[in-house]
């Protein structure tokens, strides 16, 4: 006998997730944390040396070097545009307009340790806490908190530990994840509820890393492996937090796969190459970007310099984070995360748990289509749907 309930469930739930408001999104505030990938100009305020990103050819595509490590816009800029708000300024630029949030990211930031001339993740969160009265409690609870952090931790680890055992690798990842967890809880304690994560790139594919390891063709194994271990643990952390912390909502974007696709099949994604950077010297232009060694068409390249993406790369990432399917960004994309009512997250956590219970083999985020219903779970889920549907606007 045909059982329409699974389809009804997925349809209803998707209807809930796809509330489309044509012009205005709920969240109008964006807080950004991370490293050079998200730095919008903080580095120059803490560095006594010349900061490359504050000078051409950085910013060449938009006619101005703003301290962003790219030829143009970075991912937070695109996400802000999609949200309908202005680009989020760097927190250390005192004169800026922070009415829609602030960017705490800074090049060379790490989770662990205390590297010079930067702010660790913890220091960024302290800065956020110190300045949080710039925003109302409501703005802070509706805001999206965006994170990209950890790459420099693993690049250092790989450099200092060329042949780690599996235990050592896992132990280091655990340390990083534990530290991240602590910071997320601080933000949660200040009222933050919507957490958006870009997972780590396959670090071994960065031109700077390939170049430093002598081998230019293949991605270097260890840094990518560390990133992969980190990404798996990070997702587990987010699922766990969504169960532990009431109202915790998240979006987990698989940047790792996006970069892999673009390195292996560059042309499919409109890039001439995913190997060499647009700007720099060496076998894959991985270091010392300057006006003397920059390409003519950054849009043809995935990487602008040895570690960071071109504006074109960032644009594609922005589109993926904002609106792609759960196979790319889940359980919600940014658009859905924005409009998700603040009190529906408990159901999401329960459903995630039920999904995991039914299909223990899956590690990847699956689309909600793939919920395999056992008849005894149906009633529980149907009652959740009823509750969820009642929030439909």
């Amino acid at each position: 006998m045909a059982n329409p309930k699974p389809h009804l469930f997925s349809l209803s739930f998707f209807s809930l997730l796809l509330l489309h408001i044509p012009t205005v999104s709920f969240a109008q505030t964006l807080f950004v944390f991370g490293d050079g990938l998200y730095d919008a100009g903080n580095k120059q305020f803490v560095s006594s040396n010349r900061v490359d990103a504050s000078f051409p050819p950085y910013g060449m595509t938009v006619g101005e070097a703003t301290g962003r490590w790219s030829d143009g816009r970075i991912v937070p800029d695109y996400l802000a545009s999609f949200m309908g708000i202005p680009h989020i300024p760097p927190i250390l630029k005192g004169t800026a307009d922070f009415s829609h949030g602030a960017n705490f990211a800074i090049a060379d930031a790490t989770v662990l340790g205390s590297p010079p001339e930067t702010l660790t993740f913890s220091q960024q969160v302290i800065k956020f806490s110190d300045s949080k009265n710039k925003w109302s409690a409501q703005a802070r609870s509706e805001a999206v908190y965006l994170f990209y952090i950890g790459s420099d931790d693993y690049l250092s680890f790989a450099k200092n530990n060329p042949n780690p055992s599996d235990d050592q690798k896992q132990a280091f990842v655990n340390r990083v994840i534990t530290a991240i967890e602590a910071e997320l809880k601080v933000i949660y304690g200040s009222g933050g509820r919507k957490f958006a994560f870009q997972n780590l790139a396959p670090l071994g594919c960065l031109p700077a890393v390939k170049q430093a390891n002598g081998n230019v063709q293949e991605c270097v194994r260890l840094p990518s492996e560390m990133a992969d271990l980190h990404n798996k643990k990070l997702l587990q952390l987010l699922v766990e937090l969504s169960r532990q912390l009431s109202g915790f909502q998240y979006s987990f974007y698989d940047f790792y796969s996006s970069i892999q696709h673009r390195v292996i099949n560059s042309k499919t994604y409109t890039f001439e190459t995913g190997m060499a950077a647009c700007c720099g010297t060496g076998s894959v232009n991985g270091t010392s970007c300057s006006t003397n060694n920059v390409c003519t068409k950054p849009g043809d390249y995935l990487f602008f310099d040895g570690k960071h993406l071109t504006q074109e790369g960032n644009l594609q990432v922005g589109h993926l984070m904002w609106g792609a399917d759960p196979v790319v960004v889940g359980p919600n994309n940014l658009r859905e995360l924005l409009v998700l009512p603040l009190n529906t997250s408990v159901m999401l956590a329960e459903i995630q748990e039920a999904m995991a219970a039914v299909s223990p083999k899956q590690i990847k985020i699956e689309s909600l289509y793939d919920i395999k219903m056992q008849s005894e779970m149906e009633n529980q889920w149907l009652s959740l749907v009823d509750k969820a549907v009642s929030f439909l606007i």
Binding site: M1, A2, P4, H7, L11, S15, L18, H20, P22, F82, S257, S258, H261, K267, T268, Y269, T270, Q316, H319, L320, W322, G323, A324, D325, V327, V328, R335, Y369
Partner: protein, 385 residues
Amino acid sequence: MAINCNLVSVIGLLLVLTLLQNPVTVAGQRNSGAALFTFGDSNFDAGNKQTLTKTSVAQGFWPYGKSRDDPNGKFSDGFIAPDFLAKFMGIPIEIPPALVPNVNVSRGASFAVADATLLGAPVESLTLSQQVRKFNQMKANWNDDFIKKSAFLIYIGANDYLNFSKNNPNADASAQQAFVTSVTNKLKNDISLLYSSGASKFIIQTLAPLGCLPIVRQEYKTGMEKCHEPLNDLAKQHNEKIGPMLNEMAKSAQGFQFTVFDFYDAIIRRTQKPSSYRLFMTNASCCGIGTHDAFGCGLPNVHVRLCEYQRSYLFFDGRHNTEKAQEMFAHLLIGADKNVIQPMNVRELVVYPVDENMTEEWVPTTPATVQARDSRSSSHGYESY
């Protein structure tokens, strides 16, 4: 004593016979064990086009595939309707392009090719009859029983009318009629070819309102509110002939089973009341340039506008639907009522006993038939299994 033994064995025999009678009685829509074969044009092309041309095809590049970060030759931001329909039918894989070597065709395949037509000789493409020939060439992949119980989904004809309209802008009513007749006759012929190859379950998707495609609105400069009505007209003339044609075929061919999916109305409804379908933009594309953002998605030297939230658009490029819309159509195909797909939906078609003639036929939708349908009791011959 002897009589009782005989009775028992007779009853026993009867019991066994009834059990063996209809192996497909279970409405096993999740594990029907049937395949899905698709034929037609770019709507169902799963990646075949690239095998027929040396130039790179736009649909093989970003931003196609943007929802899944996987440009794979499908004209969509992700899956197409057959992929969702396959999932609903219990098929665990996407329906692969048959012309690409080494793909898994065990659960069906797509023979559709972009630019396909019914008539003529489309460049770097295959007409429907050529697609049927290809199917025959590959028949060794499946056994005859498997083919007989599988679903054959066909969407073809759009390019015939788009070309006709471009080449004959001032065609009068009788010229149009003549053309529609030749196109639909060819369709009937090609379906018969498939039937002779062993197929028995046909799903024919009627043509979209071709005048409402963003690329058509853009090319004919209709503005934002209107469609290009002459093309809608041609599509309607074509669609009107489909049901009666299939009724006729069902009467004269043993075991010929079919259903007609009213795609025309599905699109019209979505353009008339977008918000009812959680759609925001139905008259322009998500990806492209021009008045309706309809041209050039995926082309190398065209800097297209790309919408940020394709899930609220009806069309991804100038004439192909977004993944979100394709998912909706698959839901309609598998399980909608007779006002959408008739005489039965795909779930019912797939479990309908093989080799049996259908008891219902396609009926033109008039107020009278709608009323008759509603008032009729709910016991249909095939539902009582």
